[in-house]
Symmetry: C2
Subunit: 704 residues, 2 copies
């Protein structure tokens, strides 16, 4: 684990391709480093100059002599490989490669980029970029970028896969009065990625909030490891673009990155405590809230307002975003009643009415912040004739600092009349909004994060006994030897059994007699299903017969199935008919898995049956991070199926313990066997005691 | 239908309670009227003054002598009744009652308010308020309010139930450069309501967009009439707050539980073409878009950008909000390829890359606007070294005006660097945003409205034959005579039959023998259900037996039902057992109704069965506005049930014609009989041919 100090707090920094010409990027970089007040040594490198901006200029990195922590490279792409090699030889620790013309331009560029990376590996150098804007640290201070301007000091780190986004946000931040600790432009992420910088910022004492804009995530597994750990201590907020199918196209043409499915990202973020922003403004609203406020203990919000309408809008937002309106103690209510005008509303939202001056705000805000049943406060102010927006701003700041364990936000609804008060609030670390809704949304983000933190438990080791890997391995080898990738019903049911997942075993019958024999063994009534590697939807071709109570029924059904299938699909190879016990009680659920390129096996759970795709009552988890029974139970509880499982309308509750174990065992199965690419256990019938997997579909791929 | 010209364009205006003292509201009102440049005659009224602000002051309204169009009243509440009376006598056409202390303070105030209203009715005066801020019209011009400032001239009318909201928005509008045609503060809405002002603004040639902030709607029926007509010509955008304070309706039916009071508003807005804003900023984003842009023909958006990341974010938003990324013609693609640098992306989003100056923007924007397959364009600009934000702004304005049938918006991502360009865009009627998402959301609003307009068809008269009102009337009278409000199964099924809604008739059997007799008549197999006014969930108490194939089964089932029910609910009065034919094929749907206080009968349609509340696959319509078969078919198509009805996974399609007729007949039934408060037809089984209502629950109330 590296803090990447040689990038953020280097002692000696070289600028390769430094220039005297203000049009050149090599000028802007050197100029930025100098103007940022960087306290270390600066070494411009340019074979054609002796001196730039008062600094001695070196012909090459070797000529410098001193040990270089960081080399910022802005040379033509044709020279970049050689320059990197020289840096390696000179023992440089980290490269910031500004130069563009690599992976983003196509195959030739990719080749060059791979060469760069190979050099870094060979010399044990790390690299930011190529094709990036650079990086900044306001506390060092260091501006090793070609962006215009240097952010105000602050505690937010912003990591961006888009250089333009970073430059835009920087420009915007001056207007909004947002300060930053670090700005990092990832560029092509050839070596160092968002994960490395999340890790580094997590270790940075000056960073309180980590923001990311990413279009893809390079290493799903490490991302989860790093973020799970980092998010325990600092909020990580990510805007992940390329969510739409159209957006994914744009993403690949932009960075050449492979886009993972958005569901896997969504799930990964949730499971490792990363907050996902839905928009750029939400990203920064959340950043401001986290950077200035304590986490709320619970979800109970108090609102103090001088106007009814906006307070109703805010109250709506509180419900919409899943927070609660605080119910004040009798003490608070008495206090408010005794001190506010008769027309005031003393219940939440506290409406101190239009003629409220600062003193009334002060009294009401303090009263609600003192209340034990209030976890956060929102102050709304509309411009009326006697309103005192500046004085009230001072009051809000004072009380926010006095009640420093509770988040306090302000909504100053208006323009010029309120501008001065608004600025005072922002300068004094009170998140301030023009309209109520985004303030409540930010509170929701804080509450969600606080809940996540509260619910982190050390993973209890899950003991899954009676697992027979060898049996599964053999089945898979047999399937592959048969040149198939889809397991037949009896094979899949054998896999279930080998992993202790309760299943109604199905057996292959090649003849009517075999079918009767099996029926006798497993007990009537039975179900018959066609067994063919080419038939996915068995019911649609008449390949399923249920409720067979006698051997005669079994024989007839066997014949009917074979006849119908050979009529509908004369060319489908038929292996026989699967015979399975009939089970028809219990709640139908689905347990499934699809393997994501970035994040590995993605488990699904939800309402099962033939309408599963229609109803879409499902929830997801990454198997790799699904380690506790608690998490599985939480997963189950997120679905509507849970309402049925708990016992809907007088029914007895279903066996959640067995279901939980089945999900954990499924997770183990798909983790143990990476060749399983897709899997549906649908339906699983969950009984009052026990459960039965009825139909299991497993798709595998050949592993080299 | 009144245009309320005496309020917005009065010739003679009186200010009753005009004052010389700048602290008084009566001063602010007079001052505002004068300063707004009002061209008519102004008459201050105050018995203690001879002259105010250079105007002759009158002792009373009678003293003026001239015909007064509008009297703005700001006198103590104790004097207001008398003043109103005097206005009536003097023949004033309209009152604007600023004075507070009426309904909003409780019972005494309400009484005073009713007196005011009675006076208005008596003298045929109309009244805005009481307890309001006043009104403004920038084109008259007239500022008859006590708000600080007067908005810039524009074409947006803003009607607000909250005075503070209006004042806040006014203050904010100066900063944002938003102009208005009218500002109306509704106050307590004793006489004139949002509906009157929507109607008036619809008739106002200076108003292009009508905005409303409301907390409730006074007259649902008139609201729908007025808005259905007005929205054909002008967009109406409403922010309706108080969604959370919606009290849980006493709901004994599925439909009632699904509906909730906000659902009725949501449905009403949708049915009469009103756009609903989710937040204050969305309200004004939409207002700006509609006020400055033409409606898009279809949903195909072109994006021109100088940076990849923000374009991906915008592309995501296009999909999220249900719009489409335009696919350019070959012509356009060739043109872009031949004129843009090799690194540019010539497909949508068009990325003209970071070194793009104004000329490249000009070329690319014009190319996409010329393309027939582009309906709207979004221009993204991030500050890079050579970017020309001001010149590009001029280009955008020029092209927006040249291609005046296509909406063009701008996203200028940044702060000070882009401020001048941004201002130019706003001044020249290009909706301009800092981040992409809200711009796309606004485009979506425009597209939705355009779609609504396109799909308005003159209502075809629906011919429903074979309706027997008398039979239904008799059943209801009998039920009420039996001191019940819930119809028994056989009664409800008779109501269905009387309205030609296909139903499996159920008949009441008081004895086993009667049950056998009925079974013989209607044909076996049958279903038996307990008949008791006290048992809502029959299955839960063992009150239902299905699949009875022989008379012996019927007898046994009869006994079992009576036994079980008397065991579980010994005190429930039992009328007997309902006998009904067994029907088990077809798709299960629900048709239901719950009556909303404001908007009347609210119909529900969706996936039926016992899980209807769990799955919540439902859609709503107000019966009063559901006049065409097309609308019913659209309603059906909005649900997942539709996927099943169309024939899911190889099944034959269900009989949509019969289902459509059943919904129309249900609408007629609940419109004809206002005493029906709630109704569930669940399930209705829709077959390949025909449909059958199986279980019908109707709740009525006694009408005076």
């Amino acid at each position: 684990m590296s803090k990447l100090n040689f990038l953020f707090e280097p002692k000696h920094i070289a600028v390769i391709g430094a220039s005297r010409s203000p049009q050149k990027i090599g000028f802007a970089i050197l100029d930025n480093i100098i103007k940022s007040g960087f306290p270390g040594d600066i070494y411009p490198v340019n074979p054609h100059e002796d001196e730039i901006a008062g600094y001695k200029c070196y012909r090459s990195i070797q000529e410098i002599g001193a040990p270089i922590d960081q080399a910022v490279i802005s040379v033509p792409v044709s020279r970049s490989i050689q320059v990197a090699e020289e840096c390696g030889e000179a023992g440089v620790k980290g490269l910031v490669v500004i130069t563009a013309g690599f992976k983003e331009i196509g195959k030739d560029g990719l080749k060059q980029e791979q060469q760069l990376l190979e050099i870094c590996h060979r010399y044990n150098m790390r690299m930011l970029g190529p094709n990036c804007v650079g990086l900044m640290d306001t506390h060092t201070p260091l501006n090793a970028s070609f962006a215009k301007g240097f952010p105000d000091e602050g505690n937010i780190s912003f990591i961006s896969q888009s250089g333009a986004m970073l430059v835009s946000i920087l420009d915007w931040s001056f207007e909004m009065g947002i300060g930053f600790s670090r700005f990092i432009s990832l560029g092509n992420k050839a070596d160092l990625t968002e994960v490395d910088f999340i890790e580094s910022c997590a270790a940075d004492p000056q960073t309180k909030v980590i923001l990311c804009y990413v279009e893809d995530i390079a290493d799903g597994k490490r991302f989860i490891e790093v973020c799970s750990e980092a998010s325990k201590h600092k909020p990580i907020i990510i805007l992940k673009s390329g969510t739409s199918s159209a957006g994914a196209q744009a993403a690949s043409s932009h960075t050449g990155a492979l886009a993972g499915s958005d569901r896997a990202y969504e799930t990964a973020f949730k499971q490792c405590g990363v907050l996902r922003a839905d928009s750029i403004s939400e990203l920064f609203d959340l950043a401001r809230a986290f950077s200035t406020l304590p986490l709320p203990r619970q979800s109970r919000v108090a609102i103090v307002t001088n106007a009814g309408g906006p307070a109703i809008v805010a109250t709506d937002a509180v419900e919409k975003y899943g927070l609660k309106m605080a119910r004040f103690t009798k003490d608070t209510i008495d206090k408010l009643r005794n001190n506010l005008p008769a027309e005031a509303n003393i219940y939440n939202p506290v409406d101190i009415i239009g003629d409220a001056k600062n003193d009334r705000y002060h009294f009401a805000i303090e009263a609600v912040l003192e209340d034990q049943s209030v976890d956060s406060a929102l102050v709304l102010l509309c411009p009326a004739a006697v309103t005192e927006p500046e004085k009230t701003a001072e009051t809000i700041v004072t009380l926010k600092n006095r009640y420093s364990t509770k988040p306090v936000m302000a909504v100053y609804m208006g323009g010029k009349t309120l501008a001065e008060g608004k600025n005072y609030l922002i300068e004094n670390a009170v998140p301030t909004f023009t309209f109520p809704e985004p303030s409540v949304r930010s509170l929701q983000g804080m509450f969600n994060y606080a809940e996540y933190i509260r619910n982190i438990h050390p993973p209890a080791p899950v003991n899954l006994s009676g697992i027979d890997c060898t049996a599964v391995r053999k089945i898979m080898n047999d399937v592959l030897a048969d040149h198939r990738v889809v397991l037949l019903g009896h094979e899949a049911s054998a896999v279930m059994a080998a992993y202790g997942i309760p299943v109604s075993r199905s057996y292959l019958a090649r003849t009517e007699e075999e079918a009767c024999q099996i029926s006798r063994n497993i007990g009537l009534p039975v179900v018959l299903k066609i067994s063919s590697p080419r038939i996915a939807h068995k019911t649609d071709v008449g390949g399923v017969e249920i409720g067979l109570h006698g051997e005669d029924d079994v024989k007839k059904a066997f014949r009917r199935i074979i006849e119908k299938v050979s009529y509908f699909l004369p060319d489908a190879p038929v292996y026989g008919v699967e015979v399975q016990s009939m089970v028809d009680d219990g709640v139908e659920v689905i347990i499934g898995m699809s393997r994501d390129i970035q994040f590995g096996p993605l488990l699904v759970f939800g309402l099962g049956g033939i309408y599963v795709n229609l109803i879409e009552d499902v929830t997801f988890r990454l198997a790799s991070a699904l380690v506790t029974e608690e998490e599985v139970k939480k997963m189950i509880s997120e679905t509507k199926a849970y309402t049925l499982l708990k016992g809907y309308r007088g029914k007895k509750p279903a066996d959640l313990e067995t279901l939980t174990a089945a999900i954990l065992r499924t997770a183990r199965l798909v983790t143990d066997f990476e060749e399983i690419t897709e899997m549906d256990i649908n339906p699983v019938r969950v009984h009052t005691h026990g459960a039965t997997a009825l139909d299991v579909k497993i798709t595998i791929e050949k592993k080299e």
